[in-house]
């Protein structure tokens, strides 16, 4: 009830007004939403590409962080980034239990990811990407990432 109330308020706001480069794709229920983001500057890595984000909300949202991953579709690839695995899982402290704060919301997550991509210059995957992608059976929220890169 808490989550759906808050999400309904967020949805109203998203339908009303969105920052540039962010669009609402699908929000049929209060469990899973999809958003599209674009990088607005001329970073050659991400120029003219659109990436789809999948938000999964638990009942405890916003106390608990939502599960946010990139979604591969025919039109939207997974962006190259040293903290984004090729299966779409994002290693970002904001989305982890420790880094999450209930004052964040869908819009602020999108903006954070936008800026995370903008500031990147390396076209690479995280180390051990292949193994992780092949053997990982955990859900993103249960993975304990080690955050070492303070530049993001």
């Amino acid at each position: 009830m808490f989550a759906s109330k808050r999400l309904s308020k967020e949805l109203l706001k998203l339908q009303d007004k969105l920052p540039p480069g962010i669009t609402l794709v699908k929000a049929d229920n209060f469990e899973e939403w999809q958003m599209d983001i674009r990088v607005m500057d001329d970073n050659p890595l991400y120029k003219d590409e659109v990436y789809r984000l999948k938000f999964s909300f638990s009942q405890s949202y916003p106390i608990e962080a939502p599960e946010v991953t990139f979604l591969r579709t025919p039109t939207t690839p997974i962006p190259w980034h040293p903290h984004v695995y090729s299966n779409g899982i994002i290693c970002l402290d904001l989305l982890d239990r420790q880094g999450w704060s209930p004052v964040h919301n869908v819009e602020s997550i999108c903006v954070s990811l936008q800026s995370m991509l903008t500031s990147n210059t390396k076209k690479e995957r995280p180390p051990g990407d292949e193994n992780f992608v092949r053997y990982n059976t955990q859900r993103p929220r249960d993975i304990s990432f080690v955050f070492h890169d303070n530049q993001v």
């Binding site: 009830m1 916003p62 106390i63 704060s101």
Partner: protein
């Protein structure tokens, strides 16, 4: 709101008053952590049995979006009992409790700025003006969807929902039943039993039956005349319109026995005298019923008035026929001819017996005669009217008596004056008579004295030698006589003689 038993980590709000009281004192974070532990399903159930569920402020709908400065960043709705952190960030009390509960047990930080929190000191109470601003936000009743159109300041919503709102869900009056029901339907008893819809024959709860089902608006053809119509309207159609249905003649109330299809009956009614008369009969019947209905309260009213009147009568005349207890005794009353002499003045009608309402009582000397009519037979058209008449008669009587009294008084005065005058005159006469008698007596006395003196002087003059045996008195009288003998030879009548008066009288 109704799914309180669904698994969610956020417990239902506690009683608003008690939590508000504790919020002003500042809430220790350690204590509040226990709030986040999920209460058992049973506990929640039992609690809601006892009372209505207080409104959740987070779920309130505002008439206009609240100021963005009054919105909690965690729940994105207007603050509910906000608290403040030392870094000047505000949150709803519960939001902050939940947010901090998810954090590391040793290290709590502000959800907004991640500044670490001192659980001994924080959260801090908020300025009063913010509370006031929040209280003045205008909200709709949480039961708006059920039909309540209450809109008022947020400060009043708790009382409205808990005390006044008719649409608040409460526990079913049946203790075996665990479902909720609107406050306004509470007195109807448990409506949570299954009935079958008369249109679609699906089982549904009595509570929901009023809303109706989908089938009721589907179309159906009349079984008598095959006309297409909505299922909802079928009953009305058969009752009033359908030409094929068998109905009795209008004159059935007066005795016509015809029963046929509606079209035939309409034909028949044109000729049937009973059907022609039926409306008049019905009208008369209705009129009689109305009159009877009106009569009944009137009869009751009359009964009440009669009771009141007999009470008043009893108060005025405690015992019938007892003249001594009569409040105003009328000396002119012909009924009292034994006690008083017959009236010398004009005879007055007995004021106790207003001629309009009382049968006249024949004058009689019988003391036991009742001055009042039989109480079982109320003689008055109106109690008040009778009392007024009585009052007027009494007043007339009193003024008549007053006139008679002044009359009598004047006469008596005149008589006394006349008598006085006469007595005075008589007294004067008597006085005069007494005076003349006194003078007569005086003259007689002096004449006698004269005679006696002259006799004495003649005797002394005759005997030249005065006897020495003459007494002192004789000597005194002789000297007196000697003096007078020289001046008064004959008694002289004098009207007044002061020197002799004291001797004489």
């Amino acid at each position: 709101m109704s799914t309180m038993s669904s698994p969610e980590p956020i417990p239902p709000p506690n009683d608003r008053r008690s939590s508000r009281a504790s919020s002003s004192a500042g809430l220790p974070v350690n204590n509040s952590l226990s709030v986040a532990t999920e209460p058992s399903d049973l506990l929640v159930r039992r609690k809601s049995r006892l009372s209505k569920i207080p409104p959740d402020v987070h779920l309130l709908e505002y008439t206009s979006p609240p100021d963005s400065n009054l919105v909690c960043l965690i729940c994105h709705s207007a603050f509910d009992r906000p608290v403040q952190l030392a870094c000047q960030h505000y949150f709803c009390r519960e939001c902050l409790v939940h947010a901090l509960a998810a954090q590391h047990i040793e290290h709590k930080t502000c959800p907004t700025c991640r500044r670490s929190i001192d659980p001994e000191r924080e959260p801090l109470p908020i300025p009063k003006i913010i509370e006031t601003m929040l209280d003045e936000l205008v909200v709709r009743c949480p039961n708006t969807k059920s039909g309540c159109d209450w809109v008022d300041q947020r400060a009043n919503v708790h009382d409205h929902v808990m005390l006044y709102c008719e649409y608040t869900q409460v526990e079913c009056p049946n203790h075996e039943c665990r479902l909720a029901i609107s406050q306004k339907d509470f007195h109807k008893g448990c409506l949570h039993y299954t009935v079958s819809c008369e249109h679609c024959h699906t089982a549904m709860m009595k509570r929901d039956l009023e809303v109706g089902c989908v089938v009721s608006v589907s179309s159906i053809s009349c079984p008598h005349c095959a006309a297409d119509l909505l299922r909802l309207d079928l009953k009305a159609h058969v009752k009033d319109i359908c030409p094929k249905v068998v109905v009795p003649c209008q004159g059935a109330v007066v005795g016509c026995t015809l029963r046929a299809e509606r079209t035939e009956v309409v034909e028949h009614e044109r000729a049937c005298p009973m059907a022609t008369m039926a409306p008049h009969f019905r009208e008369q019947q209705a009129r009689i019923e109305r009159s009877e209905a009106r009569l009944e309260p009137l009869a009751r009213k009359v009964g009440i008035l009669e009771d009141g009147l007999s009470n008043i009568t009893n108060m005025l005349y405690p015992a019938n026929g007892d003249h001594s207890s009569f409040p105003v005794t009328n000396p002119l009353d012909p009924n009292n001819s034994d006690a008083f002499p017959p009236a010398p003045l004009m005879p007055t009608p007995d004021f106790r017996l207003p001629p309009a309402s009382f049968p006249p009582v024949p004058p009689s000397n019988d003391q036991s005669q009742t001055p009042f009519t039989n109480p079982t037979q109320p003689p008055f058209d109106s109690q008040v009217h009778h009392l007024l008449t009585l009052h007027d008669t009494l007043r007339d009587e009193v003024s008549r008596i007053a006139n008679a009294l002044t009359d009598v008084e004047g006469r008596t005065n005149m008589m006394i004056l006349n008598e006085n005058q006469r007595v005075k005159d008589e007294m004067l006469h008597t006085n005069a008579a007494i005076n003349s008698m006194r003078m007569q007596l005086h003259w007689l006395m002096s004449a006698t004295l004269q005679q006696r003196n002259s006799a004495a002087s003649r005797a002394t003059g005759g005997s030249t030698s005065a006897s020495g045996s003459g007494s002192g008195t004789q000597g005194a009288s002789s000297s007196l006589g000697a003096r007078g003998s020289g001046t008064l030879h004959a008694p002289i009548r004098r009207l007044s003689d002061s020197t002799r008066q004291d001797v004489k009288l």
